[in-house]
């Protein structure tokens, strides 16, 4: 029921803005649901995402120079700064930046790159879900 009313609001909003948004744009909640789906498919032991695990992954270093927080800061509700170039990075938490986690190809691209830089490997779907679940707890 909750999902249905959510979808309805999106549809109404889209109609109201005259389809100003591309129809395929997702919400961060949609993206989280998709990550949970693929975690279930790839890991039979998957028992749901964890905000605590997500926060730990985000703030810790994993054998390389950078953590996620090195660029996105300890407070992902605030603007970050690229650790090497110094370029400003808009906040990562969806509450602070409505564009985050709305475009699957962009999300996929940056998880691939940044997990590679920070963990020297890809992040699993469940790890990505953990991180997003954590980011969604950040209030603006």
């Amino acid at each position: 029921m909750k999902h249905l009313s959510h979808k309805l609001i999106i549809l109404l909003a889209l109609a109201a803005t005259g389809l100003a948004q591309p129809v395929f744009a997702l919400t961060a909640a949609d993206t989280l649901r998709q990550l949970e789906q693929s975690a279930k498919q790839t890991d039979p032991n998957f028992k749901g995402v964890s905000v605590q695990r997500g926060e730990r992954l985000f703030k810790a270093t994993h054998g390389a120079e950078w953590s996620c927080a090195s660029c996105h800061t300890e407070n992902p509700g605030a603007s970050g700064k690229h650790a090497k170039t110094g370029k400003l990075i808009a906040p990562l938490a969806p509450a602070a930046n409505a564009e985050r986690f709305t475009r699957p190809d962009k999300v996929e691209k940056w998880f691939r790159r940044n997990c590679n830089d920070v963990l020297s490997r890809a992040c699993t779907a469940s790890e990505q879900g953990d991180v997003l679940a954590y980011l969604m707890t950040i209030k603006n």
Binding site: H82, K84, T85, G86, K87, K109, R112, R113, N114, N116, D117
Partner: protein, 156 residues
Amino acid sequence: MMRFSIQTIPFALVFLASGLTSVHAGEHVYSANNAKWKTECGACHLAYPPQLLPAASWRVMMTQLDKHFGADASLDAKTAAEISAFLEANAGRNKREATGKPSQRITGTRWFKQEHDEVPTRIWSSPAVKQPGNCAACHTQAERGDYSERSLRVPR
């Protein structure tokens, strides 16, 4: 009624690949543009003008994006091909800007060092600049491709 023949497509592509190139000789305003390049190559630092490295340098860089100056900047094949075409079509041909062996760093070229030989060493590492690749710290309109003296403000 709009008619669009299949023959126009190659021309449109060439046009897109070359951007609206109009380098005003001597003025150092680089206006070549491509939306994918601007987004993808402007995500971690400002999008460095294609004119500032020779085609050979861009070609090498674009095949090693997964190991790009210590960062993974990899792209899907289609986007990489479009950006490569744009970079190579607009690459530096001017001897001054593209001498020596294909460097991956604009800031490592002989041209760059000559152009900047009046900048004192302590300025490069000052808190406001931090590194030479941070062009916008001094070239205030670098984001728009404007490196002319008019918009130059070196922080003291």
